[in-house]
């Protein structure tokens, strides 16, 4: 697909869409973010705000940069020497790339759940305790309390409370993913990034994860990357459509799915291109 067939899309470049969060202030403030892998641009000049205590979904075809954007939010790209970045990301007003920012602390505040469940080769209990032990929490009672709360929040407690000390690898894929969410919640993050969290799961597990996401937004801000349009429509409050590393359209989910401003967005969400 070439941009030339979508004249309306061209008009967006340089004038990023502005979303009015009437009822919420912004959590992430992304300004003119560009990112390149090995001089190959992955994101170009992105500007958007992520509202606090809402679910924001990034959608778009494979390779559009939605996962790259998500990983930029907790500086996971720092590990890769080949990534270069310009632009600024602010979390609650604080530039996350500022010299005084402790990356480990930033990642604790901005938790992340990955596409494939990645529990550590430890017991269920120790998986949830992992981040807590890093925080220096040693007392058994305190650990027990937080772990129970985290597993309850991730809707996993009832399924695992009798065998907390079994290996996490004995759980099903859906349970593992909820365990990873519990592990992340246990360190009390302000933001939860979810990178296609249900793409490797069966429909019932997916449903549980989606319920969980909707339930969690009272506690924290969620950012969801998904290639499943129905999922974005079901769980998110705001949706950003990315294409070729650019932000094409960003609007409240209802608006974007029922009344997209641009042809490109409409074509993608109705499945004509992708």
């Amino acid at each position: 697909m070439s941009a030339a067939s979508f004249p309306s899309g061209e008009a967006v470049r340089g004038s990023p869409p502005v979303v009015d969060f009437s009822s919420a202030s912004s959590c992430f403030d992304i300004e003119n973010l560009s990112l390149a892998y090995d001089d190959k641009p992955a994101l170009s000049d992105l500007t958007l705000k992520v509202p606090r205590h809402r679910v924001t979904a990034f959608i778009g075809p494979s390779g559009c940069g939605k996962s790259t954007l998500l990983r930029a939010l907790n500086r996971l790209h720092d590990l890769n020497d080949q990534v270069t970045r310009t632009g600024r990301i602010r979390l609650e007003g604080q530039d996350i790339h500022a010299r005084e920012v402790d990356v480990a602390e930033l990642r604790r505040r901005v938790g992340m759940v990955f596409q494939a469940p990645n529990p550590f080769p430890m017991s269920i209990y120790e998986n949830v305790a992992y981040g807590l032990r890093l925080q220096g929490i040693r007392r058994k009672r305190e650990l027990d309390e937080i772990i129970e709360w985290a597993l309850l929040s991730a809707a996993l407690w009832d399924e695992v409370k009798t065998n907390l000390h079994a290996s996490a690898w004995t759980l099903s894929g859906g349970q593992q993913q909820r365990l990873v969410i519990a592990r992340t919640l246990a360190v009390r993050p302000d933001v939860l990034l979810l990178d296609e969290p249900a793409s490797a799961l069966d429909p019932i597990s997916t449903l549980k994860i989606e319920e969980l996401i909707r339930g969690l937004k009272s506690q924290l801000t969620l950012v969801l990357v998904t290639h499943n349009m129905q999922q974005a429509a079901r769980v998110s409050d705001y949706t950003a459509f990315l294409h070729g590393g650019e932000l094409v359209e960003y609007a409240p989910t209802d608006t974007l799915f029922t009344n997209p401003r641009l042809r490109r967005t409409e074509d993608y969400i109705t499945g004509r291109v992708g």
């Binding site: 907790n74 996971l76 590990l79 020497d81 480990a104 602390e105 990642r107 604790r108 938790g111 992340m112 990955f114 494939a116 990645n118 529990p119 550590f120 080769p121 430890m122 017991s123 120790e126 992992y130 981040g131 890093l134 925080q135 000390h165 290996s167 990873v180 592990r183 992340t184 360190v187």
Partner: protein
């Protein structure tokens, strides 16, 4: 379809046959050295032969051919040889008289003949049953004896100081149970005693100890170095042409002939480092070197260098197998890179690291060539560990089972008599390597179990 099936089963048979052949080769090798080595300690019956020309010979049959038999006749001091080839046709009579005695002496090797008399320190001379009972008491440590008078089968006399007697037996009087006890005793002496001057007499305890000590010291050096180097290469260093070059170099290092490491160890450790240490700390002892000559420490360091690539490669493979998603998962929970390494990556790679150490131990325990340059000794009956400060003498020369095999087989006065010991020592070397490997494997198992237990606590 039939054709394809036929080919399929052909491949299966062929590959199966290769496995079977390899197994057979290994089993045959081990069985051969074990049987020939261990048979040496079995107190075989001594035969007395009367030949056509009236001559009498006493010896233990040890193989030979259909027409000529080979007898181990001992008594090097009398005959100047210990083996006789005797034509079967020339034997008139063959018997196994109960009076024949087999004496293992500290010098001159074994003696075969009859006990004539014993002399006490007081000068009293005992014969017959009295002599035998006194001798038994003396061997048990309950009495003292000065000398033994022995006759060989032709009646020539030998007077043997009692201190020269290592062991003594009348194999023709022994039942199978007695022989088994004697065999166990022989094996035990071989394992627990120091060798005599000719190296054919006595045991190999210093060589066992030297081999084990050197391998343990080597492991203590190579493990931290190799693991840290692999961690740096895999986790810290920026991946690029330089790390790739270093990796290639490390892998090629594993292919350098071991004698070259020996030369390197001699030049750098013994002459360079050792010489400098002598000038600084042992100047009063010069020109006789303390550390400036081959020794336990330099041998261990040389072998550590030799096995470094093995540990690095195995550790790196283990680290590379840890999924990137687990590292990211840990980082995303607020762990630093070091915490991620310590809590997730290294525990998961630990079994691979130990595999590297196991491979290194197996390689180092069997390596002989470099040791000849950096500190192995033909004969060092004292083990380098004693009650004298600093208890472990890193500068002392040591014995090594692998080198002992070489020395017995090619450099001893009596290669023929040493042959059974070559097999026995080789068996022992294999056994020591197996024990070392089993220890490392058990340790790996234990660490895995402990890791799991930690997860549960």
């Amino acid at each position: 379809m039939r054709w394809r099936l036929g080919r399929d089963s052909l491949w299966r048979w062929l590959s199966g046959a290769c496995v079977a052949l390899s197994l057979l080769a290994v089993v045959a090798l081990l069985a051969l050295i074990a049987v020939r080595g261990l048979a040496h300690f079995w107190p075989a019956d001594i035969e007395r032969l009367t030949l056509e020309n009236g001559q009498q010979v006493a010896g233990i049959p040890r193989g030979g051919e259909a027409e000529t038999r080979r007898y181990f006749t001992a008594n090097r001091d009398l005959d100047g040889q210990v083996w006789r080839w005797i034509a079967v046709d020339s034997i008139v009579e063959r018997e196994t008289p109960a009076s024949l005695v087999y004496v293992q002496r500290r010098d001159w090797g074994p003696f075969i003949g009859r006990l004539a008399a014993v002399t006490t320190p007081a000068g009293e001379r005992l014969r017959g049953d009295a002599a035998e009972s006194r001798l038994h008491q003396a061997l048990a440590g309950d009495a003292e004896l000065a000398t033994l008078s022995l006759h060989n089968v032709e009646g020539r006399d030998v007077t043997l100081p009692f201190a020269q007697v290592q062991s003594l037996a009348w194999p023709n009087r022994m039942h199978v149970g007695d022989k088994l006890l004697a065999w166990v005793d022989g094996v035990w002496r071989f394992l627990s005693e120091a060798p005599g001057d000719g190296r054919v007499e006595g045991g190999v305890w210093p060589a066992i100890f030297g081999t084990l000590l050197m391998v343990i010291l080597m492991s203590l050096v190579v493990t931290p170095f190799g693991v840290l180097a692999a961690l740096y290469l895999n986790e810290v260093a920026r991946q690029g042409p330089v790390t790739r070059l270093v990796r290639i170099a490390v892998r090629n290092l594993a292919g350098v002939p071991s004698i070259v490491y020996g030369v390197f160890g001699l030049g750098v450790f013994v002459y360079g480092l050792g010489g400098q240490i002598d000038r600084w700390f042992y100047a009063e002892a010069l020109p006789s070197p303390t550390f400036g000559t081959g020794g336990l420490l330099w041998a261990s360091l040389t072998l550590a260098l030799l096995t470094l690539p093995v540990v690095i490669v195995a550790t790196e493979e283990g680290l590379a197998r840890v999924p990137g998603t687990l590292r990211e998962g840990s980082l995303a929970l607020g762990a630093t890179r070091f915490e991620t390494l310590k809590r997730v990556v290294v525990p998961m790679a630990l079994p691979s690291m130990l595999t590297g150490v196991i491979l290194a131990v197996a390689r180092a325990a069997g390596e002989v060539a470099p040791l000849m340059l950096v500190g192995v000794a033909k004969l060092a009956p004292e083990i380098p560990l004693d009650g004298e400060f600093p208890f472990l003498h890193l500068e002392s020369k040591f014995m090594h089972l692998g080198y002992h095999v070489f020395d017995l087989g090619f450099a001893s006065r009596d290669a023929e008599a040493a042959m059974p010991l070559v097999f026995a020592t080789a068996t022992l070397l294999v056994a020591v390597i197996v024990v070392l490997n089993l220890t490392a494997i058990l340790l790996r198992h234990h660490l895995r179990a402990r890791h799991r237990a930690l997860e549960r606590s």
